[in-house]
Each structure stands twice: as C-alpha cells, then as structure tokens.
Subunit: 254 residues, 2 copies
Amino acid sequence: MTRSAPVSDNEDIAAIDGARGVRGPGRRLHGAIAHKLGMAILSGQYQPGDTLSGEVAFAEELDVSRSAYREAIQVLTAKGLVESRPKAGTRVLPRTRWNLLDPDVLAWAFAGEPDIQFVRDLFELRAIVEPAAARLAAQRRNKDDIKVMKDALAAMRRHTLATDAGRAADRDFHNAILKATGNDALIVLTASIGAAVNWTTQYKQRARALPRNPIPDHVRVFDAIAAGDPQAASDAMSALVQLALEDTASAMAG
Amino acid sequence: MTRSAPVSDNEDIAAIDGARGVRGPGRRLHGAIAHKLGMAILSGQYQPGDTLSGEVAFAEELDVSRSAYREAIQVLTAKGLVESRPKAGTRVLPRTRWNLLDPDVLAWAFAGEPDIQFVRDLFELRAIVEPAAARLAAQRRNKDDIKVMKDALAAMRRHTLATDAGRAADRDFHNAILKATGNDALIVLTASIGAAVNWTTQYKQRARALPRNPIPDHVRVFDAIAAGDPQAASDAMSALVQLALEDTASAMAG
DNA sequence: CCTCCGATAATTACTCCGACATATTACAGG
DNA sequence: CCTGTAATATGTCGGAGTAATTATCGGAGG
C-alpha cells in the first residue's frame, strides 16, 4: 500500500486526489481519469514530447486498475493528445495533432487559466464563421427559427447574462441561428466555439460587472435575420463578435 | 419482449471478416474495431437511437475480447458517436452530437459513399473559412511561408493531381497558407476539412479525367499572398473553392 | 376502477485482476 | 555498418465481482 516508489513526474497528478474524487454520478471512472490527464496536458503540465510513466506504474499511482487507465488513454488518443506504442510508451503529441475543436478538449483548455493567444485565435475564428452563419440564416430561416430566436431574446432580456438562465438563453439564441443555416458542419463547429467562448463570459463576470448591455447588439442581429437581409445580418453579427472580443480582452488584461 | 434470439442486426458487421482482417502493422485491434464500427455508424448502418447488442454478445460476434471491444467503444464515445449507460446499453447518439470535424470521423464518413448534402455543407464551410485564411495569410506571411508555398506550387506543376505526390503538394500548399495565418484553431479546422475535401478529389479522378487545370487558380492565390494583398487573396481563394465545388458537384452528379 | 408513487428485482455496463502475446527498441556480435 | 537477438512496455485475453439504472410490481390515494 505504501507507495514509496521514487516516481517524481506524476506524483503531483495523483496527489490532488485519488483520481476518483471528482467522480459524480453519470461520470465513469475512466472519464474522470481522462478529464484529469486531459487538463494536465492542456495546462502544460505535460508538454509535447514528454513520455508518461508506464501503464502499470501510472495506474497504480492513480490507484485505479490498468483497464480503466487504458480506456482513459484511448480517449486521449482519440482526441489526438497522446500516442502509445509498444516499448516506446505513451507520449504527448505535438500541439498540431491535437483536436483543439473537440468539445472536451476545449473544456479542458478552459478549465484552468486559458492561454490568451488561443482565446484570441478562437475569437478570430468566431469572427470569421459567425457572420457568415448569420448571412446564411438570413437567407434560409423559417418561421419556426424566428420564433425560437425571439423567445431566446426575450429570456435574455428577462434574466441577465449574470445568471445561468440568461447564459442558457444566449446559447439558445446562437444555436437557433446555426440551426437556421441548415449546415451540419457549421452547427457542430460553432457550437463548440460558442461553448468555449461562454467560458470566457464567466471570466468577464468575475473581473467586474458587465461593462455593456449586450441586448441591443443581439436585437440588431435578430432584426436583420428576421427581415431576411443577409448583408445586414452579417454586419450586425460581425459587430457583436467584435464587441465581445473587446470586452473579453479588457477583462483579461485587467 | 425480451430479445432472447441473437440480434441479427450486427450479424453482417462480423460477417465481413473477423474484424481483425484489416489490421495492418501500427494498427491496433481496438483501432480496427473502432474503424469498422465508426464506418458502420457513419454509413447509416446503425442509425441514431439504435442500441448495439451487449458487450459480451457483440465482442463475441467480432471474435475479440471485451477489453478490445470496450476500448473501441471508448474511442467512439470520445468522438460523440455513441453513449453507454448501465442497463440501457450502448446507443448511437443523434447526429448533432457527433464530432463531424474530427479527422477520424471525417475519414469514416468518406470511406463509403459520402452523403452528398454533407459534402455540400463541408464545401460551404470551406468557402467561408479558406478565403478568410488567405486574407490573414496575406497580412502575416513571412519569407519562409512564401518559400514553402512556392516549392509546393512547383511540385504541383511537376506532378499532377492525378498522382499521390501531386495531391501531397496540394495539401502542402494549403497547409502553408494555414500556417502563415498563425491561428491554431484555424489550422486544426481547415486541415480536417482539407483532408476530407481531398477524398472527393479522388472521386473527381474516378469519374473522368480532371476537367480543369487547377494550377492557374493556385498561382493567383499565391501571387496575392506573396504581394501582401488581403482582398485579392481572399477573392482568389474564393474563386478556387468555388471552382473546386463545381468540379466535384458535376463529378458526383454524373 | 384508474392513476400515481415507491420499493424491489433484473439487467447491463463498469471495474478489477492476472496472465500471455506481440511489437519495437536497444544492444551485442559479426 | 549491418544483422540477429534479447529485453521491455504496450497490446490482448478471459473471467469474476461491483455498481448503477431501468423496469416491474405492489400498494396507497384519487
């Protein structure tokens, strides 16, 4: 039981808790391990090129069976974070191989202190994709899409972005736009980005009271889409993303 | 009520071969299983909501151990294709939960007859992202980026898109543009899309001889980026994607 | 008699264990 | 420098036991 083993590299990982500590209901053990290791990699605790200690050793450190550990590794492998080879061990892959747009990977990236440069990259991508999505939505939206958007907007007004319900309404609004485009690839992509961006919203809140009322921006986007004006929708969404970027930037800088 | 009889749905999967048939070196068993099941799901053989037969049964059908089968399932779970719960079994998730931009998922989607609508969606996304990427590349490229692009262009000219080397050069060209943007999120995204789009290139080849010389389009993009003209780069790339779409559409229609 | 709710039971995935097989690297010998 | 051999870590296997969720059944209340 006494693990007086001299392993030093992974000690800190296991030290946090038994690895089964953060295991809520519906959360499997291997999922918790993957979560922990994923965050450790994304946070830079393990860097590309580093090789993890062997299966048996690491599994024992985490106090889990080898099966559970292996299944967790398969998850990380599926997301491009690590690669395992016989005799060579399990190594962290270079960043370019990581599926940075995977929802879980994004969540892990934003679990700790997110890399500022990566946040900028994400906003840049959002600034490219979302206006185009709004343009398509203005061309293709139907009555039902408009109704969902209107309801979400009303909910945003009722609660604010300071509440969970308000942020949920914000997500609903953007999701409705995506659904209106009818483009599955666009939906999957922007849903991930949106989720990631919403993590930053909490940052904004934490820094200080919301510096701006986001409702008018959203209303302009809605009006343009409802009116079926692609150019106006694109412009309005472009402005919205730009303002969100500025807010986030100032919050992170402060 | 109880399905005491062996589920016949999965029979065909195992029937193709022992599931270990397509297992080259460097390709683990669970990877092969994930590959096979992933293609089965993406091809619609298993539809959202369907529930796979139990671990023991399915693993025995595939003639593999439960460990290997489970690890494969973890991979699919990590990519959002399925979800396993005790007592409920393993079910295929709705399409909206799939990580359609995951490189493996894309590969599976294009392994069989790709869904035409999805190809259109992908091209639409590409038409949004790639011109924007070209615009950024024109603003941020350095000497080295230009050199790589020029070399790739020369290689494309030497070999044609009919050869593997030529297609590799095409990928290099586009990758160089992405790298020049310096945006990691953009790189990951478009690398996936580009790979998927290249599968369609083989379709074009299969249908008939390449109907158009793609070099001039690429040259225009290169010149604009090298000259540092964002608008021209965006326009040229936009035209390139548009032409590629038309070629692919006509090839798939014929 | 019907509806709703709670305790119970059955089924399924989840976890653990120990052994063996395989692939890859590293080293020694030619 | 090349080749063959040995060491080692991952890969695969089969079984046993645990935990969790769903479905069923029974009783209380309408």
